[in-house]
């Protein structure tokens, strides 16, 4: 057979490697800054870097910029070698790289400006969503075309993970991005309330599954055997791992919505499948760790293996904890608390971070044909990273338990023992310790940047690395009696279709009934659409990322109904595009802010927004004094109303024309109230709209 000579493209790999390092450091810095804002609220410098806008910047930067570029770095390196072929097109690689970086830059500009869709990890506005779709297709095209022209008959298991990642992320992104634009930067989610919540967490959980997990498992199956210089422990186990994992993961989303207004059957579905997930996840972890069988002595000296062992161990810890957190009784304690933040960071810092670092230390010297500049620095990085994870996670686990038990504690006479504010101020030292952990981790990352920079400088990039392999004719016909799986293994398209079917089964059975069956969302006749002013207020709420600290979902526990009022019902959210239930209570729940014991005067809200600690001593909420400066943009009112009408919100025909008249009437009312409270403010400021929204919240069912 004729041996063909070809060249691997290392330039694209290098570009993605640099991008993952630089964006990683920026994303971590944003996270560190956000964490310090919780300790020192004065760090909420300007509206652009207030916690509500910075936190989405942090999560998006870490997920899509740090891990995203990490995925592409690893895929572009390993796919070429596993296929024994250069990437299909240098042009597509280039468009992919620069397109992805532009998307990140666009995100870094729009999020601080408050341009957001208000859905966690899907905050980016619709034009960026379209750009993501285009670039993702280019990535898939480049990947599949490379697989098709490969010189290796079989598709190694890592490639299956890449294929499943590609197809599932595409489906998730398309469904979650269902939105109706009403200006060229703004849009409303197609879905409302409970349905939006289910779509969100079906998406959100699977962003963890198919962006942070499956591609990294693919990388683990390639780079761990490479670094250990021995094949994966059990290839059979990897097959079972792959199919069970992608089948089960897609169902688990509802575990983010336990005890909420989501129909009970969907909650149970999420619990059962989340519990089952422990088996494939641990199958994968064991497969990774046992790959080191007989090489454990090398872990002591080899810093790359150290990084990888910690990564796989953290994967094991996070995927044990995940199913446990999905039990309803555990979720009752953990949900809305810092426990969840600790949990995700064991995954992000441990699994994604440490594996990325291990791969970088392995890969950069190879593509630069040199040695690592300093093993000692890498070792220091390893210890800073590992200690950073511990210093990050332990205080937050502690904080989570504390917070939850303080929320739930009653006095002997049956009163809630702690005000919400007391629970917040109590946690400040834990937040400070967490920031210390984050700092250690970031310093480690900066050491790596220096180490890699010196390494690259000491060598020269082998932009086109020569390789040889015999050409193969990929057999199209099926041998009699051949194993079915081996047939699929050779055919990437069939593999993709089968993966698609496997994930669609879960998606359909979970989502379709929630959208279709009327008994799932019982309507409440007193629930009416928002007034134009309240709608504007709500959009400001979304813009400021209030959902990053406040929930709008009261669970049916006595400790919650005592604190916040009647538990939330599915029918209350039917006009909420997007839903704003939130996932964390750094501040109190706001679902019934405008009613019952929680109701405050307009003047209270005004003063609270101007300086939160003046009304609630020790509050860590940022000041929103700029609401008093910024004029409410009423030019979009008509477009907002028309968009809502298209989404099925029953405003009367022609209401868009008179909406601003009603808006001004309501605004005047609030301005008068404030005047009576000795506050002079013009009725056309944003503060008026946000007060209107807060005063509306939860009032429908008490009418």
């Amino acid at each position: 057979m004729q041996v063909e000579k070809f060249y691997y493209d290392n330039r694209t790999v290098k570009n993605f490697a640099y991008a993952t390092m630089v964006w990683g450091a920026i994303g971590m810095l944003a996270g560190l800054w956000a964490s310090l804002e919780l300790v020192f609220p004065s760090l909420n410098i300007t509206q652009y870097f207030s916690f509500g806008r910075l936190r989405p910047l942090h999560t998006n930067a870490v997920i899509f910029a740090f891990v995203g570029n990490g995925i592409f770095m690893g895929v572009y390196y390993s796919l070429q070698r596993l296929c024994k072929a250069r990437m299909y097109s240098d042009m597509l690689s280039k468009i992919h790289f620069w397109g992805w970086q532009l998307i990140i830059v666009a995100a870094a500009i729009t999020l601080p400006l408050g341009l957001t869709q208000g859905a966690e990890y899907a905050e980016l506005i619709w034009p960026i969503d379209i750009a993501i779709t285009v670039i993702w297709v280019i990535f898939g095209w480049n990947m599949f075309a490379t697989i098709v022209k490969r010189r290796e008959k079989h598709l190694y298991v890592a490639i299956w993970f890449y294929i499943a990642t590609f197809v599932t992320v595409a489906v998730l992104h398309l469904v979650r991005s269902g939105e109706l634009p009403y200006t060229w930067l703004k849009s409303y989610s197609f879905y409302a309330g409970v349905q939006d919540a289910l779509v969100q967490w079906w998406y959100g959980h699977n962003a963890v599954a198919f962006f942070l997990t499956t591609p990294y498992l693919g990388l683990m199956y390639y780079f761990l055997p490479k670094a250990a210089n021995r094949p994966v422990y059990s290839y059979k186990l990897s097959i079972i791992h792959f199919w069970s994992l992608i089948f089960l993961y897609i169902w688990a989303g509802p575990h983010h919505l336990l005890y909420t207004a989501l129909p009970n059957w969907a909650q149970s579905l999420g619990v059962v499948f989340s519990l089952m997930l422990i088996f494939p996840s641990w199958g994968g972890m064991i497969n990774g760790l046992l790959t080191l069988r007989g090489a454990w002595d090398r872990v002591r000296d080899d810093v790359i293996l150290k990084f990888m062992v910690v990564a796989v161990t953290c994967y094991g810890m996070a995927t044990f904890e995940g199913p446990m957190l999905s039990l309803k009784s555990v979720s009752a304690i953990s949900h809305y608390t810092d426990w969840i933040i600790a949990h995700v960071h064991v995954g992000a810092l441990g699994w994604n971070g440490m594996l990325t670092f291990g791969i970088l230390y392995w890969l950069i010297p190879r593509i630069f044909a040199t040695k690592l500049y300093s093993k000692k620095l890498a070792n220091n990085h390893f210890w800073l990273g590992t200690l950073g994870i511990i210093f990050y996670a332990v205080p937050l686990y502690w904080a989570g338990f504390t917070q939850s038990s303080m929320w739930k504690q009653f006095t002997e006479s049956g009163q809630l023992k702690y005000s919400f504010l007391e629970t917040v101020t109590y946690l400040k030292p834990f937040y400070a310790m967490r920031s210390l952990g984050g700092t250690l981790y970031l310093v480690g990352t900066l050491l790596m940047l220096y180490n890699i920079y010196r390494t690259a400088k000491s060598g020269k990039l082998m932009a086109d690395e020569a390789a040889e392999a015999p050409a193969i004719e990929v057999e199209k016909s099926v041998h009699k009696g051949e194993h079915w799986h081996r047939k699929i293994e050779r055919r990437p398209v069939q593999m993709m279709i089968l993966s698609l079917i496997v994930i669609l089964i879960g998606g359909f059975i979970e989502l379709v009934p929630t959208f279709m069956i009327k008994s799932n969302v019982p309507t409440i006749s007193s629930v009416k659409p928002y007034t134009p002013l309240e709608l504007h207020g709500r959009d400001i709420y979304v813009r400021e990322g209030c959902y990053t600290c406040h929930s709008q979902m009261i669970r049916p526990f006595r400790s919650e109904t005592e604190r916040y009022g009647e538990y939330s019902k599915a029918g209350e959210f039917v006009y909420d595009h997007p839903f704003q239930w939130g996932s964390k209570r750094t501040g109190p729940d706001l679902a019934r802010e405008g009613t019952g014991n929680l109701k405050k005067s307009d003047g209270w809200h005004f003063r609270h927004f101007r300086e939160p600690s003046s009304m609630s001593e020790g509050s860590i909420m940022p000041s929103y004094a700029f609401f008093m400066e910024r004029k409410l943009d009423t030019s979009e009112t008509g477009a907002k109303i028309r968009a809502m009408q298209s989404l099925g919100v029953p405003y009367e025909k022609g209401y868009d024309k008179i909406a601003n008249i009603e808006l001004m009437k309501q605004a005047e009312g609030i301005a008068t109230n404030l005047r009576n409270d000795s506050i002079r403010i013009s009725s056309n400021k944003e503060i008026i709209a946000i007060i209107a929204y807060l005063q509306r919240m939860g009032t429908d069912i008490s009418k």
Binding site: S78, R81, L82, E152, H154, Y156, A158, F190, A192, G193, D196, Y222, P225, K226, N229, P231, Y235, K236, I239, I240, W243, F247, W265, A266, S268, L269, V272, F273, D302, I304, R366, A369, K371, E465, A467, H483, W484, H485, R486, I505, P513, F515, M516, I517, K518, S519, N520, V521, P522, T523, I524, S525, K569, G571, V574, H577, S646, L647, G648, S702
Partner: protein, 84 residues
């Protein structure tokens, strides 16, 4: 105060009313009942899928497994420099 759980005549809430196809499907699906059966169906599908998967994996021959698991190591260190 109205009862919280009274189901009024169903109106599509989150979907454009002009989508005729959607309404066509919906007139059937909204009558679906017993959503509880869905988790059972899904568990059954997975169980079947998993058993078939186990069966076939068990049947795979050792030779091809060895070949497959060695794919990443085939090019080992021919063109690269170890940094250790």
């Amino acid at each position: 105060m109205p009862s919280l759980h009274t189901c009024k005549e169903w109106e599509p809430i989150s979907v454009n009313k002009n989508t005729a196809m959607f309404k066509f499907i919906q007139q059937y699906t909204e009558k679906m009942d017993h959503a509880q059966v869905y988790p059972m169906i899904s568990l059954f599908i997975f169980f079947l899928f998993f058993v078939v998967l186990l069966f076939y994996v068990k049947k795979m021959d050792k030779q091809s497994i060895d070949t497959l698991s060695n794919i990443p190591l085939e090019d080992n260190e021919a063109t690269t420099t170890n940094n250790q």
